[in-house]
Symmetry: C2
Subunit: 121 residues, 2 copies
C-alpha cells in the first residue's frame, strides 16, 4: 500500500452523522481495493486530518489524496484545509500530497443529487 | 405551479459557496420544469427557509418538498429543520409539506461521490 485516500469531512456532534461518510469509504474501497481509504474530520469527530495522515504514513503511504467531502469550497476547504496540509507536508517532505476539489463541485455528484431530489418527488 | 421544491443547505460566509447549490437547482429545474425550485439557507445566506416558503406559497404553491442538501442527518437536519417546518406548517395549514432525507444519505449520491473520488485518482 503506497497510496492513501483520506475522505475529509466536517464532522458533527451526532455520531450518526458519519454513517454516509462510512458508506462512501466502503464504496471507494470496494471500487479500488488497492487503495487505503481513511476518513478524517475537521471537528467533533476523530481522527483529525493530521492523525489520519500520521496513520497513513506510518502504515507506508507515500502518496496522500485528500478529498474534501463538502458540498462546496467554503472557508473550511479554502482556508483551514490548506494550512493543515502545509503542516503535514512539513512533517513528511518525502510524501506526495494531493488536495482535490470539494466533492459537491463534481458534475457527476450534482447530477446524482438532482436525480435523488426527483426520485420520489 | 402548485409544487415547490426547496433545496435547503447550510450556507457559508463565502459567496462562492452557493455555486454548486445553484448548479443543483438548475439541474433539478431542467429535469423537472413543471416544478418551482428554490434554494434556502440555515445561516449566512438568504433566503432562510421561512422566507423561501413564504415566497413559494405567495406564488401559489400548495405543496412544499423540502430537501436537505446536507451530507448527513446531523443536528441541523434532525433538530433545527423540523422546528422551522412546524412554524411554516402553522402559518400555512392548507399547504402540504414534505421533508426529505439528507441528500448525502442517498445511495445514488454516495455512488456518484465514490466515482468522483476515483475519477482522477
Amino acid at each position: 500500500m503506497s497510496r492513501a485516500i483520506i475522505l475529509f469531512a466536517h464532522g458533527a456532534r451526532d455520531p450518526e452523522w458519519a454513517r454516509p461518510l462510512e458508506r462512501l469509504a466502503l464504496a471507494v474501497r470496494t471500487a479500488s481495493p488497492q487503495d487505503w481509504v481513511l476518513t478524517a474530520f475537521l471537528e467533533f469527530m476523530a481522527p483529525d486530518l493530521a492523525a489520519a495522515a500520521d496513520a497513513a504514513v506510518a502504515a507506508g503511504a507515500r502518496e496522500l489524496i485528500v478529498v474534501p467531502v463538502f458540498l462546496a469550497q467554503g472557508g473550511h476547504v479554502r482556508r483551514d484545509l490548506p494550512r493543515m496540509l502545509e503542516e503535514i507536508a512539513a512533517r513528511y517532505p518525502a510524501v506526495q500530497i494531493e488536495l482535490r476539489a470539494a466533492l459537491g463541485e463534481s458534475q457527476v455528484v450534482i447530477d446524482a443529487m438532482a436525480q435523488a431530489v426527483l426520485s420520489t418527488a
